[in-house]
Subunit: 210 residues, 2 copies
């Protein structure tokens, strides 16, 4: 039960409690918020309906604000001690900004993710914002260096934009080129039906104190 991950009380929550919120409910709520974010951009409804929508959104926020946790989600743990990055800007189950990316790991250490990017990720008309491309590539390159309980942070990241990345289906891929002590050198790219659009290389570091 993430909501009581404060000091020794984390031990108490290893048993299921009646008031524990099912993960599927968080996922469903967040998916609804993702749809709302998209419609807030694209709606052509009139002022009356927009005002009505705003009132519904505020009512939803009021329900959620009855009890609010820390300033940010951080990394909390489930009853079995597994980390939950539910607030993460790229993969967070409860973060409506996150598509979210579902990162798959292959036996050879490479990672990939398929994602569909809609209106909320737009920069140039009809295309993914160059910075969103960087966000996704930072995450998947970093994921090659990630080990359970031993996260990696970005040292350097270099991006080469070869084509515009059209909104729609995008694949992100990355693999380790080599490691040197605490440093992982990773390379990767984004691809759409047009082909490879952005290439990246980066150095990711396991901090001394995690």
């Amino acid at each position: 039960l993430h909501s009581r991950f404060i000091g020794p009380t984390v031990l108490e929550v290893s048993t299921h409690r009646d008031d524990e919120v099912p993960e599927a409910l968080y996922a469903a709520l967040t998916d609804s918020v993702r749809r709302l974010v998209d419609l807030t951009i694209r709606s052509q409804a009139d002022s009356h309906r927009l005002a009505s929508a705003k009132a519904f959104v505020d009512s939803a926020a009021d329900e959620l604000s009855s009890i609010v946790g820390r300033e940010s989600f951080g990394v909390q743990h489930d009853a079995d001690g597994r980390p939950r990055a539910w607030g993460n800007a790229v993969i967070g189950l409860r973060n409506a900004l996150a598509p979210p990316l579902l990162v798959h790991r292959e036996d050879d250490g490479s990672v990939w993710a398929d994602v569909t990017l809609g209106a909320a990720y737009e920069g140039p008309a009809g295309h993914v914002h160059g910075g969103i491309c960087a966000l996704l590539l930072d995450h998947v390159l970093g994921a090659t260096a990630h080990k359970p309980g031993k996260p990696a942070v970005t040292g350097t990241l270099t991006l080469r934009y070869e084509l515009g990345t059209r909104l729609g289906p995008v694949r992100a891929e990355a693999r380790v080129e080599r490691t040197e002590g605490a440093k992982t050198y990773a390379v990767g790219h984004l691809a759409t039906p047009d082909g490879v659009t952005v290439r990246a290389e980066g150095v990711f570091i396991h901090p001394r104190t995690a």
Copy 2:
């Protein structure tokens, strides 16, 4: 471009049609959605309240979906022909993923923006996701190359992460180093109360066909 600064007086003047939605209503709705995104991550409300919140969110989405525009917002124009990037992932007035960044331009061509980043932008616990740092830097560096009606796209971008960027107030700055034909070479950084956290350099290009 940042017509949000213009204020309600001009909004009344620019309302040419009875059915035109005031900009301030779009801004208010999107601000409500931003608050909702934050609370969706941080709420510790029980299942009953979460389910109620989801129902409100779905009702809001239903109102908005009565009439829906194109697949993405693109760049539309107001009655005076000024471009509106309201869907943009970084600066979009109607994009709840965008903080949004308000980019200020100095006479010397440099740009800066102050922004407060909350739970939705988290990567490492308590810190801004490295890819969100890249997103902001891509945008402000690109903004140095931007000219009205002549947008620039990213050619290359290199980021050096010197410190973790704590959630909270962040300043983004960028300036032009030099230009060569259609290419603008820009440099910039992010800074928090801890000092400079991420440095960036990039090449931005005005496409032949805009």
